[in-house]
């Protein structure tokens, strides 16, 4: 293992990208991998323990059942390594003596203690709690509640059974009847946002057990109980600072902005024009500030059309905004009309502008009656309006709810496909991908600028613009670039993460909640499946993002807008998810990444070629054993190649220095290998 890690150190990162275009900053990714220690030695560093903890989270229930063989004498094959390390973490943490007082001090109790992240404190511990596992039957052990997670460990089984749930992932807590487990037993069901509902049973009479439920309620919903989100308590430090990943000025500069047609406006620097937009906006140069304000008053929530992405060659742009406030009386706004005309004029390649309204046309009409609406083509010359017919957030929420019923806890083998069909989840994924493909194609082939909006321009709009940008711009397909994409299109442009996810809020029935971000990540996964070598990141990266969307461990996805985040001092007070990811980037990289610079990816948006993301949605089912880790053997192969490559070079150098052979033609051919697009970063 050590050999692997160190071999990965001299990653061909720099070599793999012989040409880095000027509009793209060179990625510093490989630079830290050389200095990083192999994960085995570094176990005791907080970062490492965190990685392992996160891996455990992903493996969570699976690990407990899989690791049976791992504790045995098998050689450390790549499959079991993760889990093995995870076990070591447990042991390490359980040596801590500070909680001995809380316990009888026997060994078993020690073993059942929860590992903690820095800043995490234990709030309650209950023994002899029974976890009613839907897969392998009930198991009893110790339940620990901290201000960050719920941790259940049982030594009844070998290896110990561990269940780990982030409090942030809890949607609601319910008491359930568990008569079958004996009298005086209370039951508790933890309904989670991440597609599982663990159930526990515990004895009623003991005081401490009551405490558990209350503590859980209190810390699962801190905002409803006047407590801070855990992200503000989390004290881990990482070598990388994730808050520096996205600098709007740098990102716009990468795109070649400002230029003669577009300028970076500071009009919203104090969030006065639009409180859900970022401070820096890219708008047409020729539009004056007071015109902007008038446009803002004509757009829902003042979300004016601003540039999201510009094509490096054709200057065609993706512009995002909210719906125009046309209303039932067909109001007009001269400034808005001129504004769109200016956007069109900024692109010399086309004399048209396409507006993509993500909504269903019927819903758009309904909105029009409610003072919203859509661009009326007769008022906007040369503007073409298309509806993408994507249903709203409530439909998506319902779809995911149905999907959860299908995948958890049991799967109906015989009707699996039709029940997935009946959730329509994949159909909506298809709609989104198809919409994004249309946008990307309009830009790429049609060389036409597009305006994308839905109602408020923070849900479907963010999904569509970011997917289209992912297709068009290979930078966003890198590990860093994807972080920038999320920071830009989702976080800074005010996707209402707090409302959609409901961080720390007990009102689980809030109709504002909707899994739009999950849906977007699913689309990215679908693209990744269709273009396995086009993305620098891997599936673990996407799953990690989704886990921390709920976890409240990092500040990245907290609150609804940049304005709120600045007000709460999120960047100063919390840790960014990217700090963690980028400190550990080799775990999240795709060994077979090939930088398809300037390639546009058009995923096939057909249900036949979409698949349910089983390794995310069905991951709690222990029967969904992770697939054979082919990528692992591929990584090993890369190491072998690197090794051989080195030896060949050594020998050739030696051979040539000995000057015993006249021909050097073979030597000349050897450097061609360095140009290979395959990463050796492992």
């Amino acid at each position: 293992m050590e050999k692997q890690s160190s071999a990965g150190g001299y990653g061909a990162d720099g070599l793999a990208h012989p040409v880095v275009p000027s509009r793209k900053p060179s990625r510093p990714l490989g630079s830290n991998s050389g200095s990083r220690q192999p994960s085995f030695e570094a176990l005791d560093s907080p970062t490492e323990s965190h990685v392992e903890w996160c891996k455990q989270l992903i493996a969570a229930t699976i690990s407990s059942q899989i690791s049976g063989q791992i504790s045995g004498s098998v050689p450390p094959d790549p499959v079991s390594r993760d889990f093995k390390v995870g076990r070591r973490t447990d042991l390490r943490v359980s040596r801590r003596p500070d909680l001995m007082a809380l316990r009888d001090g026997n060994k078993q109790a020690q073993m059942e203690e929860a590992p903690r992240v820095p800043g995490e404190s234990i709030k309650a511990i209950a023994k002899d709690v029974m976890y009613i596992c839907p897969f392998t039957g009930a198991v009893s052990g110790t339940l620990t509640v901290t201000d960050y997670k719920l941790y259940f460990k049982s030594l009844e089984r070998d290896p110990p059974f561990i269940l780990d749930v982030n409090l942030g992932a809890i949607s609601r807590l319910e008491t359930i009847g568990v008569q079958s487990h004996g009298e005086n037993t209370r039951g508790m069901e933890i309904v989670c946002k991440d597609m599982r509902n663990p159930r526990f049973a515990y004895k009623k009479e003991e005081q401490s057990k009551l405490e558990i439920f209350e503590m859980l309620t209190k810390h699962a919903f801190p905002l409803s109980n006047d407590l801070p989100l855990f992200a503000f308590l989390y004290k881990e430090t990482f070598p990388e600072d994730g808050w520096k990943v996205y600098d709007p000025a740098v990102e716009y500069k990468r795109m070649g902005l400002p230029n003669e047609s577009w300028t970076i406006s500071k009009i919203n620097s104090s969030y006065e024009v639009c409180d859900t937009y970022p401070a820096l906006l890219v708008v047409p140069t020729s539009i004056k500030d007071d015109e902007l304000r008038r446009v803002a008053s004509f757009r829902a929530k003042h979300r004016i059309p601003v540039l999201s992405w510009i094509h490096p060659e054709t200057q065609a742009t993706i512009v995002r905004c909210s719906q125009p406030l046309v209303g039932p009386t067909d109001r007009r706004c001269k400034e808005d009309e001129r504004y769109l005309q200016t956007i069109m004029d900024a692109n010399a390649q086309s004399h048209k502008l396409t507006v993509f309204d993500a909504r269903q046309s019927s819903m758009a009409d309904t909105n029009k009656a409610k003072d919203g609406g859509y661009e009326i083509e007769s008022f906007y010359p040369n503007v073409e309006l298309n509806f993408l017919e994507i249903p709203n957030i409530h439909v998506m929420r319902e779809s995911l709810r149905k999907l959860k019923e299908v995948v958890y806890p049991t799967i109906d083998e015989a009707h699996w496909l039709s029940s997935v069909d009946s959730t329509h989840w994949l159909e909506y994924i298809r709609l989104l991908l198809a919409g994004a493909v249309r946008i990307a194609d309009k830009l790429e082939s049609g060389k036409t600028s597009v305006v994308v909006h839905c109602s408020d321009g923070w849900d479907r709009t963010a999904q569509l613009t970011s997917l289209a940008m992912l297709m068009l711009d290979s930078y966003y397909r890198t590990l860093r670039g994807f972080q920038v994409l999320l920071e830009k299109e989702w976080v800074s442009f005010g996707h209402k993460f707090a409302a959609r996810v409901g961080h720390g809020d007990e009102n689980h029935a809030n109709s504002e909640r909707s899994p739009l971000f999950v849906q977007f990540i699913d689309c990215v996964w679908q693209m990744m499946r269709q273009f396995p070598a086009a993305f620098e990141f891997n599936e673990l990266f996407l799953i990690t993002i989704l886990d921390h969307l709920y976890s409240c461990l990092f500040g990245t996805f907290l609150y609804n807008s940049e304005h709120e985040r600045v007000g709460k001092e999120v960047p100063g007070e919390t840790v960014s998810l990217w700090s963690y990811i980028n400190s550990q980037s080799e775990d999240f990289t795709n060994p077979f990444y090939i930088n398809y610079e300037n390639h546009v990816l058009y995923p096939v948006a057909s249900l036949r070629h979409l698949e349910l993301w089983v390794s995310y949605y069905v991951r709690w089912n222990p029967r969904m054993r992770p697939q054979m880790p082919v990528h692992q053997s591929l990584k090993e192969m890369l190491v072998v190649r690197a090794e051989l490559q080195r030896r060949v070079e050594d020998l050739q150098r030696e051979a040539s220095s000995s000057r015993s052979i006249s021909s050097s033609s073979d030597h000349a051919s050897s450097p061609s290998h360095t140009g290979t697009p395959l990463h050796t970063t492992v």
């Binding site: 015989a414 699996w416 398809y596 057909s606 036949r608 069905v618 082919v630 192969m637 030696e654 290998h673």
Partner: protein, 811 residues
């Protein structure tokens, strides 16, 4: 609808009489003749040619378009890419090039015009010049050719007619003319007759073949019986059958009558833990059981074991008719309505897929095979698969069990030997099930294709445990639809050997290779000698064959002796607690011991038997057996992928809904949506793994060269040379991921000058791309999972964009 068009002039005689053509060109048809760039087979004549045609590449091939010339010969539709290398005139003929379609595997020909599409039949005529020609194949491929504006219109029309007239929908008699077209020429016959059989495969044709397998699996107490040498005992059984040593041939002869079609219990395989797998047909009940017979029958069932489990496969398994129905539905779903090129609506895809029940059937077979594998792992019993006829699902389950349990069967030769043993020799009715002659419509059922699907499911779940690849399974799948191979053209060994007796002995010697009698080779043009399907170099180019094996497969240690003494797993349940002589029935997932399971133990004649055993079959060990099966379903989640350290742990498939998946590469090759967006690209394509494999090989070669050169050059630096030598040594020991002998991957040339096996490799691409025009933006189109996007580069601007690109986006 198509026949009825009134205004058209009927059959146009664009294709002169075929015989005439063949005669007229006969003298020229020498081996390796090159006709307009097409490397013809001996005796093959080109009927029509169209230039400037582009072939739509499917996602597997990298997508996009490939420019070249389209040919219609009287045997295949051939496509020669314009930049393809000049074929080597001395190379052996290859039946199908990488882009070719055998006429016999074409199902429908559709011409697409500017405004309409039309199904073209031999009798129909076109009222428009086709812009696009779509061939729907029986193997679920959809091959699409696009005519350029510069393609002469007559050529486009004529070649469409030629194909439509010659492809010959299957009907009695057409197979023979197809076979003749492909293999009938004198040169071809000569060539086929001189072909050597692959000695790596166990053909199970001779006594020694069977003995080799007995030895390989360490099975003792069994012998090869030649009692059926003349097919007198059972016509559908092979010449040689493996039976318990204790039963003499004279005794054995009497047992045939007790089984349907005389298909007595025969040994298939021994599990390293000592259990034996057997298969048999159902019992003949209306027969009197003599005492001696009973003893022999019991011996046949038990072999040397104490317990016996009969696995009933008729009960809860799909019937061949079910399989046929499911396959028909699956075809319809995947190909859509061929005549109108309209595909099934996308929105109900999953539900419709489920309704075909194809995946259910695959799951069912896998589940049964997994149960049997677990039973065998339990140790020390015989497990007998019983099916009324013993010719369909017994083949599926017995071979699946071996694929799961025996690593040897996951290698290429091992798998081919397995198919020989459990399908070809065991008398699976390939000919009737494939229904090539359209004479056995009721019998038609793609049982073998279901088996291939099941193997694919296993492969997809454990790719690194297989030496063979999905590409191999796909090739085998496609070959089933080309009626040229002796493997699939008979129902049993008897038919096969009859046929070959009529012909030369070219492919069916009884005891190893037999000299071909010269007089046989040139006679009788009606029946060409048919090659076995395993002669892959005859069918496919080396490029395609190179993909048949996994570049990273673990080397299978063939010297491993499976002697039946492998220690039982510590946690395995003790099963020997049942009374000796117990027989159990496994049906619908539960065990029982019904009194009428063995007809002779039931009633009259069985008295003697009961006396000989202290107890009647008890249900005492039932719980033990149940546990084995249950343990599987429980432990299923906790099983890690069996590591190389224990090759005998069965590969138990996951059967949960999401785990049994549709074989996209096979069934959805023709899905129209997948081809919706395509751009022209060069044909160079690589999987990163292939490339990596190639690179590692290159490096090894370099290393070997460097070190030998070094050795020759200097003797001073001994130490520094050693690591290199060690490295090579290691690779031979299988420490590295590549087993050293990989003849298919890298052409064995002088190492330093060897070129990549398949055209330019991506390794060279990025610099090239950069050097040309770094700002040139290009396109990638999505496709199913194992898409190979790395193979696409800048579009060639000279090639016209496909016309369906724009509208399909706008719609």
């Amino acid at each position: 609808m198509l026949m009825g068009s009134k205004t058209t002039f009927k059959v146009r005689q664009i294709v002169p009489d075929m015989k005439e053509r063949m005669l007229s060109h006969g003298g020229l048809h020498t081996r390796g003749r090159d006709m307009f760039g097409l490397h013809c087979l001996p005796g093959e004549c080109v009927l029509q040619r169209a230039v400037l045609v582009r072939k739509k590449l499917c996602a597997r091939e990298g997508g996009g378009w490939l420019a070249g010339t389209l040919f219609c010969t009287h045997f295949r539709v051939a496509f020669v890419p314009q930049d393809c290398q000049k074929p080597d005139d001395n190379a052996d003929p290859v039946l199908l090039g990488d882009h070719d379609v055998a006429l016999a595997s074409i199902e429908k020909v559709v011409a697409v015009g500017p405004s309409r599409t039309k199904l073209v039949t031999p009798n129909s005529s076109l009222k428009f010049t086709p812009e696009e020609l779509v061939l729907y194949c029986r193997d679920l491929r959809v091959v699409c050719f696009l005519f350029d504006r510069l393609t002469p219109e007559t050529q486009a029309t004529e070649i469409t007619y030629s194909i439509a007239k010659t492809y010959q929908p299957l009907k009695p008699g057409t197979i023979l003319s197809f076979q003749n077209a492909a293999l009938g020429s004198v040169e071809m016959k000569q060539f086929l007759s001189n072909r050597r059989r692959d000695t790596q495969i166990n053909w199970f044709e001779s006594t020694s073949d069977w003995e080799r397998d007995l030895e390989r699996t360490g099975a003792t107490g069994w012998r090869v019986s030649a009692v059926n040498d003349r097919f007198e005992m059972a016509t559908s059984l092979p010449r040689f059958n493996v039976v318990p040593q204790k039963v003499l041939d004279t005794e054995l002869k009497k047992t045939f009558a007790h089984f349907n079609e005389g298909r007595i219990p025969r040994w298939c395989w021994r599990h390293p833990r000592g259990s034996d797998l057997l298969r048999m047909a159902s019992f003949q009940n209306n027969i009197y059981h003599e005492k001696d017979d009973i003893r022999n029958l019991e011996t046949l069932l038990f072999g040397g074991q104490q317990q016996c489990v009969v696995v009933e496969l008729a009960e809860d398994m799909p019937t061949p008719a079910d399989i046929q129905l499911a396959h028909t539905r699956l075809r319809a779903l995947c190909l859509g309505d061929i005549s109108t090129s309209v595909s099934v609506p996308d929105d109900k895809w999953l539900s419709t897929l489920e309704a075909t029940r194809w995946l259910d059937h695959a799951r069912c077979c896998l589940k049964k095979a997994a149960e049997v594998s677990c039973l065998l792992r339990g140790g020390h019993m015989t497990v007998i698969l019983q099916e009324p006829e013993d010719r369909d699902l017994n083949c599926v389950v017995s071979s699946l069990v071996q694929v799961m349990c025996d690593p040897h069967c996951r290698t290429l030769p091992g798998f081919q030997g397995l198919v020989q043993k459990e399908w070809v020799m065991a008398g699976h009715r390939f000919l009737s099930r494939a229904n090539y002659h359209r004479e056995s419509d009721k019998e038609e059922a793609p049982v073998f294709l279901l088996f291939l699907d099941c193997v694919w499911q296993l492969w997809a779940q454990y790719p690194s445990h297989f030496q063979l690849t999905g590409d191999y399974l796909l090739a085998l799948h496609d070959s089933v639809h080309v009626p040229l191979f002796s493997t699939f053209l008979s129902n049993c060994q008897r038919e096969r050997s009859r046929r070959s007796q009529r012909l030369s002995q070219s492919y069916t010697p009884v005891n190893g290779w037999r000299e071909v009698l010269p007089r046989d080779t040139s006679q009788d043009p009606v029946d060409p000698p048919l090659p076995p399907v395993w002669d892959w170099s005859l069918q496919y180019s080396c490029n395609r064959r190179a993909r048949f094996t996994h570049p990273v497969s673990q080397p299978v240690s063939s010297q491993l002796v499976l002697n039946g003494n492998l220690n039982a797993h510590p946690d395995s349940h003790k099963l020997t607690d049942g009374a000796p002589g117990s027989v159990f029935l496994l049906s619908r997932g539960t065990f029982s011991s019904p009194s009428n399971l063995l007809p002779w133990r039931n009633g009259g004649g069985s008295g003697s038997y009961r006396k000989s055993h202290r107890r009647a079959p008890s249900s005492e060990s039932l719980p033990g057996l149940e546990r084995v099966i249950k343990a599987w379903s429980l432990s299923e989640p906790s099983k890690p992928p069996p590591g190389p350290q224990d090759p005998h742990e069965p590969l138990l498939p996951l059967l949960l809904g999401p785990c049994v998946r549709v074989w996209r590469d096979c069934y959805l090759r023709g899905a129209l949506q997948a081809q919706a967006f395509c751009h022209p690209t060069p044909a160079s394509m690589y999987h990163p793994v292939d490339q990596l494999a190639w690179e590692v090989q290159q490096l090894r070669d370099k290393l070997a060269l460097a070190s030998t050169r070094h050795a020759a050059a200097t003797t001073k630096k001994q130490e520094s040379r050693r690591p290199a030598a060690n490295l090579n040594q290691n690779s031979n020991n299988g420490t590295f991921l590549f087993s050293a002998p990989r003849p298919s991957l890298v052409p064995r040339g002088p190492p330093p000058t060897s070129t990549p096996p398949r055209a330019p490799i991506p390794a060279a691409a990025p610099p090239r791309l950069a050097g040309r025009d770094a700002s040139k933006r290009t396109f990638l189109f999505g496709h199913p999972a194992d898409a190979r996007p790395d193979q696409r580069y800048a579009p060639t601007p000279s090639i016209r964009l496909p016309k369906n690109n724009g509208p399909s986006l706008g719609s």
